[in-house]
């Protein structure tokens, strides 16, 4: 636990001249469940894109262990990206492939396992997320919650060190959302995976988060970083307290 798993220093994100967030500095430790939270439109998903290599930062750096992600050569970056798995908001399953083929795709591309072994692993991953028996279904034939779980199975295909979740509980009923939270915790506990979650579901934030960063759309920068419970207990910033209590607490703490 000596070196942080991901270090973000002085990151500025922008589309052209339009700055989304600036001066972001935080670290994510090995085995953290790290929450990226903040109001709608504050750039949570954009921050995720910067962490997973889809968008280049305007300024600042992202380090994986000690390696500078955006200043590495293309090949090195691809090598880092192979150590991470991403669950997109919509699942982003390949619609022309069955669930088993979706999971088999990265396995077939990046390992030299035989097709039978790959099929076994695909079935195992589907069973892990509660979709045993759905190998031959196409993404369009299953429900949104199932698509999301299948997306998780694909993200886990290569046993990544870090898993990224983009709004995992959006569009799920409370029970399914809770099951997904449990799944996330057990992934961390059993496999030691570092997990980064973009969400604004309070229930999830408190249930799973061991560390977090809070982004503010008004000032376009981060307000705090730390465990969500600790933020709620110790923060004096009315915006954070308001967010973490759904605006229900009287924000009369001395600011």
């Amino acid at each position: 636990m000596n070196t942080p798993h991901i270090t973000v220093t002085d990151l500025t994100m922008a589309y052209g001249d339009f700055v989304i967030q600036q001066d972001l500095t935080f670290t994510i430790d090995h085995g953290d469940i790290f929450i990226i939270m903040g109001g709608s439109g504050c750039g949570k998903s954009t921050l995720l894109k910067h962490l997973i290599g889809l968008q280049r930062p305007a300024k600042g750096a992202v380090f994986y262990d000690r390696q500078d992600f955006w200043h590495a050569s293309d090949e090195e970056r691809v090598r880092i990206m192979r150590r991470i798995g991403v669950l997109y908001q919509s699942g982003a399953l390949f619609s022309s492939l069955t669930l088993a083929e979706n999971i088999a795709l990265p396995l077939g591309e990046f390992t030299d396992m035989g097709s039978r072994e790959i099929a076994d692993i695909a079935s195992y991953k589907l069973a892990l997320v509660g979709l045993a028996g759905f190998e031959d279904y196409y993404p369009s034939e299953i429900s949104g919650g199932m698509q999301k779980r299948a997306g998780l199975a694909r993200a886990m295909a290569l046993d990544p060190e870090i898993l990224f979740f983009d709004e995992p509980s959006a569009g799920l009923d409370p029970v399914s959302a809770r099951l997904l939270d449990d799944l996330i915790i057990s992934l961390r506990d059993t496999l030691g995976t570092t997990i980064v979650v973009v969400t604004h579901e309070l229930a999830s934030i408190f249930a799973i988060g061991s560390n977090s960063v809070f982004l503010d759309p008004e000032t376009k920068t981060m307000l705090a970083t730390g465990a969500p419970r600790k933020l709620l207990a110790e923060s004096s910033d009315p915006r954070i307290i308001q967010f973490l209590t759904r605006g229900e607490s009287n924000v009369d703490k001395p600011a």
């Binding site: 997973i52 290599g53 889809l54 691809v78 090598r79 990206m81 192979r82 991470i84 991403v86 997109y88 908001q89 919509s90 982003a92 399953l93 390949f94 619609s95 795709l105 990265p106 591309e109 990046f110 694909r154």
Partner: protein, 391 residues
Amino acid sequence: MPWRQCLRGIAVSAVDAAPAPIGVKPIDDSTAAIQVTGDWSHGAAIKPAEQVLAELDATSPSRVLLQAHELAGWDSRLPAYLLKIIDYCQARQIEVDASGLPEGIQALLKLARAVPERTGARRATQKKSMLADIGKTVLNGLKDVRGLIAFIGETMLAFMSLIRGKARFRAVDLLLCIQDAGPAALAIVTLISLLVGLILAFVGAVQLAMFGAQIYIADLVGLGTVREMGALMTAVIMSGRTGAAYAAQLGTMNVNSEIDALKTMGISPMEFLVLPRMLALILMLPLLCLYADLMGILGGALVTVSAFDVSLIQYYNETQKAVDLTDFSIGIFKSLVFALLIATAGCMRGMQCGRSASAVGDAATAAVVNSIVYIVVADSLITLLCNRLGI
């Protein structure tokens, strides 16, 4: 009789007395009341707010009371109407007292004004000068050109890694694309080519029959089809069929983050998605073109043999004499170029597609329009070149 008149009198006076649903009533020098009554649901006849505001201006009060009497029914129309009056009064520093309204309406009015309008949120409709429009069009055009050059570069890189044997795509995908761009298109290519051959034959026959030279219809149809129409018509069909499909497929994958997912897996979407599609079209279009040539000649033969007193053998011999291998190679070369253009236009538009349903439609349309323009321009250039080189 009298009671009837009496009744009519009542009815008339009732209509006269039916209170206007809204009216301005001065109370004293500085106060006016705006009273709403009756039916305020959709479909009720109510005078426009501007008229009420004009009446209000006439009395120029410093305080306005909003009052409701015997409201029969109301929906969103009433609060919207009242909001307009309140905003108007506030802009003129006139005090508004809404306590004479039913509680439900008061609550709605309060809710509608609870969050103040965000400054700068409303989009001002600016009048744009023509120069600005022209500038924007030029800049967009330049952006398109840059995008095209970038896409060609990325395609080159993908083909390089294909040649080095490092490209990653699934053989199944390539086979599916080939199936889709080849055999699946045979029916429509047959129909169109046969008909084009037929048309060529008819057009030529009218002129040639005047000299009794019907046998030369074979030359005309043969050369026209093999050098020109075969490749051109197949390319146009395939740009509508396959080019649009490529753009729509890739565009939808983009909307669905599937392309992002590939990137984060470390798989190049150019290799995985674009290469098999391009390869399939480049492999299949020349074959389709060859087939279209045959069908066109057959169409010509059908007309000539049945209507212009030329036997099938004569037609066959004449065609063989007129068309040689060079003509075929020119047609096939053209179809190769067209395949490259269609695949580039389709895949590029798909990969650069925006993230909405309408963007996918735009991408498909642009793919077809672009590829047809490219095809015709390229065809003219090649034809001109052949003419100058004397082939």
